[in-house]
Amino acid sequence: MIGVELSKMFRRPRTWATIAVLNALPVLVAVLLQLTDLAPRPGEGPPFLSAVLTNGQLFPLAALAIVLPLFLPIAVAVVSGDAVAGEAQAGTLRYLLARPAGRTRLLVAKLVAVLAFVLVTVVVVAVVGYLVGTLLFDAQPVTSGTSGAGTSMSGTPLTPEELARRTLLAIGYVAVSMLGVAAFGLFFSTLTDSPLAAALGALAVLVTSSLLFTLDAASPIAPYLPTRYWLAFVDLFRDPVLWRDVVRGLALQGVYVGVLLTAAWANFATKDVTS
């Protein structure tokens, strides 16, 4: 079942078109940055972008930071909103269920497929970011001794292995951060037969969350907002690593996935499929 959903996801031209579009923005930013040499002022712009000019190996992180606030969640919302509602709209849902693909199993398989999409997308963005970064900008020479491949945010040197390890962790963390969006999309996807409505629903949640996050009046609920810990991947580049928000981010996404998947199951298990 999971294999079937993965195969559907990655044999779909739209999936790859989405990933391609997602990569266009960081590449554009890199080209502009290289041409103009104008780094954002400290404290402004996406994290790591100003550091990229001196070290192209940091561009995967800057690329992730560029797509994280908007592009990536939109892509995830669209893909996850399509999960069940898309099948319903195309009419294939009734055949799947009459096959029978168990409803709960179908939901889990859909979630796994969306996860795979998120992971592949994030990895592709990072890999393209690395290629673009090392191609367009100086890579810090990897020398032996104290001077490493990069500098942590705390001003300590990072060895190439350490930089690679932390970049991988960051990729994983960004992927996990998208789980909440995916779970919202999937849940809405079981409520409606319109993939567009489901994707918009998930996006509405995101916009609300981002807005409330900036609002002081909403600070009591801020720790529970799905977007609250998204930028915590930056904390992986402090020295020592600041795990607090990373751990909370992981737990929060876990809670959202758990609750929303349960809600999706509660709704979908006996839903009348009339599409």
């Binding site: 079937v4 044999r11 009348d272």
Partner: protein, 305 residues
Amino acid sequence: MTSVIVTRGLVKQYGRVRAVDGIDLDVRAGDVYGFLGANGSGKTTTVRMLLGLVLPTRGEVELLGGRMPRAGRRVLPRVGALIEGPAHHQHLSGAANLALLDAAGPGGSRRTRKHRIAEVLDQVGLGGVGRRKVGAYSLGMRQRLGLAGALLRRPELLVLDEPTNGLDPQGIAEVRELLLDLHRGGTTVFLSSHLLAEVEQLCSRVGVLDRGRLVLQDGMAHLTAPTGATVVDTPAPERVRSVLDGRVLGTSGERVVVRGTDPAEVNALLVGAGVPVTGLALQRPTLEEVVLAAAGTSADRVERA
């Protein structure tokens, strides 16, 4: 004879509307069951309830001896279905669609999959379609592919909703032959349709649905059994009346209906009296007449209250 589909007091209520209102279906093994009803009479909802897609408000469904929807995982792999038209992933080939559908549930062995797919594609006449994407298929080809999906696991029971939609006359005849062939092989067919002719040609049992109620359920032979009258075609109907005084049940144009179950006897009387007879047959009701008599007005007619 075992029953493969049994429903008892099946009701589906959407808000204040009763789409299906207490129907008791009984489809037996070996039947070709025609499920007739106008558009909007509740056919599709019933078919969906049989397959566990829609859950009944009241009543129960038994499919191949299992109580639906609970037994779905056990019995549905033995059922092939075509529900309200075919649906496929447009960007994949027909064979890929079938493979994905087969892999999505239990009872489809991976080892035999390729072989089975090639076989059903041949069976429905799509053997040569190759890797063309479904998006480029014609309506008839999609219908055939849908049928192939239903046949993929050699089901004991076929539940087909309007299977000849979109097919040309040759295609319809082909499908009819295919279904009869499968039926001879022991497959029970549940055919839901609004096309009387299709059902009349194929089915051994008929159920008629009218605005959510099952108004008729009987064997085709019984429904169209001789009425005990003989139909006489003659250019001189008024002379028939004088010869067979009191036995004439009705006259319309050059056709006279006469009481009597033996056309030969009627013929002898008329010819003996010198009445020209151009045609002679036992009167049988057509399915259309039966259905019209049982059902009321068209369901999509909205009368002023």
